[in-house]
Symmetry: D2
Subunit: 354 residues, 4 copies
């Protein structure tokens, strides 16, 4: 099935495996005239890259994005933007024993059930490295949004039971690295400046599209909009955000809803939280089975982050950007009066109901 | 935008407003030869209906589904199945004051921002009643799944802070009804018999599709798969489900993952939890604004459930069924050997790599 | 497969069989605020109806379209417009012997190969009557186009070897009716007022979308744009339409291209010709086979037009309207400057290439 | 709009401009396990390449396709296959005067109307060179089809008024090259071994999908299936293909229908004819206008084929292959009995109608 595409008007298709020649993305439907250069993309790529700190993998990933098409003289042309990220530093040998064994917490078994076999080098298509292509595309979406005054920001919020930036979190990571174990985390994302009216009332609710985008990031096991799970405990009288007039504009007092009501943005900040499971690749011995149906014990080698959130935050930000950009373009055709005005036609419509 | 369609091969399109002539759904892509009669659908419609109990609305909704096409001689023909549910008992007068005022917690304001105006009778397209069409379609999907040995069941799990079936929950509902207030709830859904291999590795992950389906139900503010939010606190060594051999088959010991790894089903039960906000329609006075930008106080009249979960459970079940049915059909084309066998072609392929 | 849907933003889904309870269409994505009443649709339905003349079937088809949703107070609301056309006067008995025999020139055999069986009453889903739902939807699309100053008109051009309105054509029809035979025909369609820029450069060329729309009408075996087949004999110097300035606007001198160059409209009239095969249902005896693999001779009874073009013209017009309406909406997101202006954002973009 | 994608399950997205760094395609949804190497693709690329003969352009295009992902150990993995074709030998200077002038017969004016500006080097995205990416993708589709016993072949049929392989055609080409003029042509395509049942009854008719695919090739102005235009002159009694039994199979005697009835394949050969206009790039002086609205005369320089058909034949073949591959996969989910058998479920269905 064609499951590597995302979006309707601003549509991306990613490709590439962790240890193949390259990864990349084709953006089809980016409007013409957007100023775009590789540096605009690479500043996001950098955020996905393992940093020098203690929380992330030691694998070296230059991850330089190169634009192959769709940009001319510094501006997008309206035709597909193809971006390539070449693979280097691929230690396939780390995966040499993994072809016929199923790593717990990974897609290996499902992959074989679906396709009959798999490229086991580095998780192949299911590697976290696949997200680099999304970040490249998301960077373009975020640049487009910034033209309309929309900004999106995501960052890691908690690591295990601790705020992400605490000393306790840092100590936890150091300890896990020694033990060869891992921990879960959360990422919080906020989009500001989103006009009211984005999203559609039924299946293409803005929150439905966002949740799908966030759940499509490997290791996400829960998504909240606004108050999220806590709404199940709240009363309506407390959970409803009253409308107010502020500076002549309609706004909400409070934002339990996280900026979306009935699937449509209401002009308040859009608030999203993603819950990431602990990195499944751990060097602690685990029971598992081989493809041939025999049981075994596995110890996963290789350079793996003991926590996913820190590097995944930019992916959450980019996926959010991709949904908002597409929704922004889809929303342009919602009203006949605006379509008439767009095409310079006068209002020749008969009076309704007569 | 065309946001009333859902699915790729098993694709549905719903239509209709709460207080219009009727609601309905067209199912396009249901395979031919499925035994189907209206009673198969109406037993699900009944579960969505307000019961005589204390938890649900007093509005009378016969909600009889009628099949208009696509079934002949008791079997589906492969052509579109059109199902209609006529509206009766529509008290539009309850909504007479709502045209120019925005109910807190509702889509009213977003609707006007998007479309310029709205059909305010009963929430129009954003009414919970819209889900009756999904249930009709979901019933057909669930019947198809049962042919392959897949069963899905959802029920309300908690109401406010109490287990759904407790005396405390019942008392809470009774109290809220008197106060004109409402409470949140959760629904838990389990799908059994799902073969390993459904879902796709990147954007069309099975959990991404499921979360989008569940979030498309009004009032859902969080979705969990498997352990959900709790994974953010877990260690990898505890969260990974070891693989085992049981009765000659590969299974997981434990199911923290909720049956999905890397976006692909692993053969274990699929576990989903949805968090519903309190019913936004409450008779407690709330601050809000009018379309003309003046502030006011609103008291929402009409017959409204003080809690959404009890009637929404069957909607969760049906949306899950729709995703699984579509994924099941999409998965049939994943392997060349199976395609050859399907079309009765012999294996004439050259040896790979030579 | 979900093959009953058409369009991306302005998307329709048709349903219903020739001799079932009803046929219908759901229009999802029609912009809000379009003045619409049933009479707007029924004037097109009337053109599809068999007239009193000699060229069309004697079957009585009232074909009154009823709007079930999506219109409120005389205007479209932006939510799905469901239209139903009830079946009356269905002489299923005319088809009583056709369940197990394959009519030459019909889809019967393919249907059985695909679905295993079929609803043989009146051709079921493959009946020409299916087009009534398209006409209902097309009428709405054409009304939307008229708001932007676009008009579309199609009519039958030739019947057999004669101009459609000639005495020879009328005599041919009279003779064929007596013989129980049929003849082919052509329909010509012209769209005026289409702005330059509709359609996309590669797979979604405007002519590709139009040809698909026209070929989706049963019995069409060829489609031409502009000079069509004749271009294969022409020289480039004669076939290229020179650009000129007229009244300050860029126009083409001549219109060999039929208003489309490289898949994009150029502002000239869009010219389409469709070639219809003779009605396959004829009462002349024909060799054929039964489902069980035995040979037989068939004589198709029932009231059938001896020529398809006269009633199909409005269907060509409506399918053209559906493509243009969708293309018009899709085109709104092609340029960043226009998107900025649409959303009221100022041009904050950095200088390109710096 | 996202117009560079094609197909539903076997879905491709092409990218790249004539004179950019590279062109390419991503194939998403190719089943796993197909033996594939670059030579399989490059033998098709070679057929698109200008040959040494007199009929084609003198431009040198090595057009070597390189596979970047989706193939491992000589077999497709089920994940996206990314193919890149690097550009060399790009004489952008030939186009130096074309930025602000609209070439007659080209998309230049429509491009500017749509996007505001364009990459004028070599026609940019609208160059015939864009088809190289389709050929790369089509080669994979054709290899998949060959696994099921389906073969497709297309070749140029006529050049101007002459059969393609005649001395007259060769002389015509020689003369046109001297004059700087061009001529039209036709390409004929035949697909054998296509099982009955492919295609869907309404909008996704197999002929509708094929016509869209063929019309999406630049310069096509007409498409015929089977007898095509000639059916408008035929009688039903002559045009209907009788069914017969041959070697125990149901076949048609004659093939006026070109293998498709009611949009569904009937097991006979699928016959398609495409009409190409003369190459619009000619060195004969032509009247035209500049972007600024002034009139001028243009003489298009550069190396251009005086006839499109010879090199386009392989593109027609590949587009046909892409449609058939997708239709083959879509058709797998049409019947419940086959789905049950595919998933190894027993027939547990209740008796219909009871």
């Amino acid at each position: 099935m064609a499951g590597s595409g995302f979006g309707t008007i601003f549509r991306i298709t990613t490709w590439g495996e962790s240890h193949g020649k390259a990864l990349g993305v084709v953006i089809d439907g980016c409007p013409a005239g957007l100023a775009l250069k590789e540096a605009d993309i690479n500043k996001y790529m950098e955020r996905r890259r393992p940093n020098a700190g203690k929380m992330s993998t030691k694998r070296k990933e230059p991850d330089e994005a190169e634009i192959l098409s769709g940009v001319w003289d510094g501006r997008t042309t309206g035709t597909p933007i193809s971006i390539i990220i070449r693979n280097e530093d691929a230690h396939s040998s780390d995966y040499s024993g993994l072809w016929d064994v199923y790593r717990p917490g990974h897609a290996d078994f499902g992959f074989d059930a679906k396709y009959g076999f798999r490229d086991a080098r580095g998780g192949g298509r299911s590697s976290g490295r696949e997200t680099s292509a999304r970040v490249a595309a998301g960077a373009v979406a975020l640049k487009l949004l910034s033209e309309i005054g929309i900004s999106v920001h995501a960052e890691v919020e908690s690591i295990g039971a601790y705020p992400a930036k605490s000393i306790e979190a840092e100590e936890l990571i150091t300890g896990l690295r020694k033990e060869g174990d891992s921990t879960g985390s959360t990422v919080f994302c906020c989009a500001s400046g989103v006009p009211a009216g984005l999203g559609d009332p039924v299946f293409e609710k803005l929150d439905a599209r966002l949740s799908s985008a966030i759940f499509s990031i490997g290791a996400v096991k829960a998504v909240e909009i606004g108050d999220g799970c806590a709404v199940s405990l709240a009363r309506g009288s407390a959970n409803n955000d009253p409308f107010r007039i502020k500076d002549g504009k309609i706004v909400t007092a409070g934002n339990h809803a996280g900026g979306i009501l009935g699937g449509i943005s209401n002009g308040s900040e859009i608030l999203i939280r993603a819950y990431f499971k602990p990195t499944p690749s751990i060097s602690v011995p685990q029971d598992t089975v081989r493809k041939d149906g025999t049981e075994t014990v596995i110890t996963v080698k290789g350079r793996h982050d003991p926590v996913i959130g820190p590097r995944a935050a930019v992916v959450v930000e980019c996926m959010t950007g991709l949904v908002l950009a597409d929704s922004l373009l889809l929303n342009m055709s919602s009203r006949v009066d605006r379509i008439r005005s767009f095409y310079g036609a006068s209002d020749s419509s008969e009076d309704a109901g007569q």
